[in-house]
Subunit: 134 residues, 4 copies
Amino acid sequence: MSEPYVAELDFYVRYAETDTMGVVHHSSYVIYMEEARSHYARTRGYSYAEFEESGYYLVVSDLTVRYHAPARYGDQLQVRCWIAEIKSRRLAFAYEIRHYEGGQLLVSGQTQHICITKAGELQRIPQRLRDWAT
Amino acid sequence: MSEPYVAELDFYVRYAETDTMGVVHHSSYVIYMEEARSHYARTRGYSYAEFEESGYYLVVSDLTVRYHAPARYGDQLQVRCWIAEIKSRRLAFAYEIRHYEGGQLLVSGQTQHICITKAGELQRIPQRLRDWAT
Amino acid sequence: MSEPYVAELDFYVRYAETDTMGVVHHSSYVIYMEEARSHYARTRGYSYAEFEESGYYLVVSDLTVRYHAPARYGDQLQVRCWIAEIKSRRLAFAYEIRHYEGGQLLVSGQTQHICITKAGELQRIPQRLRDWAT
Amino acid sequence: MSEPYVAELDFYVRYAETDTMGVVHHSSYVIYMEEARSHYARTRGYSYAEFEESGYYLVVSDLTVRYHAPARYGDQLQVRCWIAEIKSRRLAFAYEIRHYEGGQLLVSGQTQHICITKAGELQRIPQRLRDWAT
């Protein structure tokens, strides 16, 4: 995967996503990262809603986030999201969140995922997702 | 229902529940009201989780909130919650949210609920909930 | 105000905005309404961030929401938002949230606002906002 | 710090904290961890609100979370929170979140913090916090 597909999602910071410090709350970025995954799947033609309807969940097993600089209400941000690794039973997404204008890096992160059935049984990563890596 | 049962839930404001204004975000009170309903059900011996397991949902059909004064991170609050009305197909909860110390009124509100099956069909309010009004 | 300016904001439902019922949590719509106000201000050329920088807050004093039908993760929604009333000391926004495709009405609501200084003193609604009604 | 002070916070999962999968959303645990820090400070006699009033912020610079097992609406959980490391310019909290009954481990995590002034300048960790490690 020398040059992975990168999905880019642009959005404005909502007021409710900020906190008393006057900046975006650190948990809000976790939701931005999740929405970037949704956007990734949509732009690759296989929405995560459709994936769930097929009987699977792609659950988060590990989360790491590094906070470089704050964002504020009304800022326009961009999340870049790509697949960092796919193995038979694990899938990792990587993220960079930047100011849309100027491109300052605000947050970088990674999520690890496993695939389970709705009954909770561990599965191999479905082929249709593994194809994303090629 | 001249003197309804009143459930009282005490809690601290979480940092994530505040916003750039330095106060509790107005949507956070909607979640406090919901948790007060959960607490109401628990203290009456019929948890809402148990109610859902019986095949029903009690969905919110209407919400009204009046904001009187702000709360801040770390404040200890108290929600008082009671049933304002039960009819065959509607149930209303009323709420008051106050500072735990001093008792200043911060928010008052009401939610209207209907009962549906998991398939989405409208139901009468189950007897076990209607008994709460007596 | 026979034909008020209407701002339209389209967006996708985020996974985190749903709940165990499999639908959008009722508090999430309160945040959609707020973001619609932000969008309203941006499209009228006076962002709310800029408004706050001028020393004022436009706080929510009353909220009413009616829930007509549920939305689910991944649905594309549209909020329509307009000024329902402006008086010297009060401002009301009205909202309709619909499925983007098909236009089914999901939620209707209204918020009442008052204007305060950062020190908490009640102010008249600034002229620049009152001009929005004309 | 062979035996650090451990703060224990018990609470019920709120409905709004769950998602379409029927479990607690992975971002909700980040907020539980934050509230555990608040509880830690309160039980050590120096609330974080008081700390902020003294002119400082303790911001999150790094977050790592491992998800072991899911929790559901209404579950009673316990967060255990302790200081994993204090250096002159860095402070790390560690967390374990378990089912209150039975003690099953659900989530483990760590947050790294730096101290800044309200003007955004990096500071040494104040002595009053460094005393927590002794």
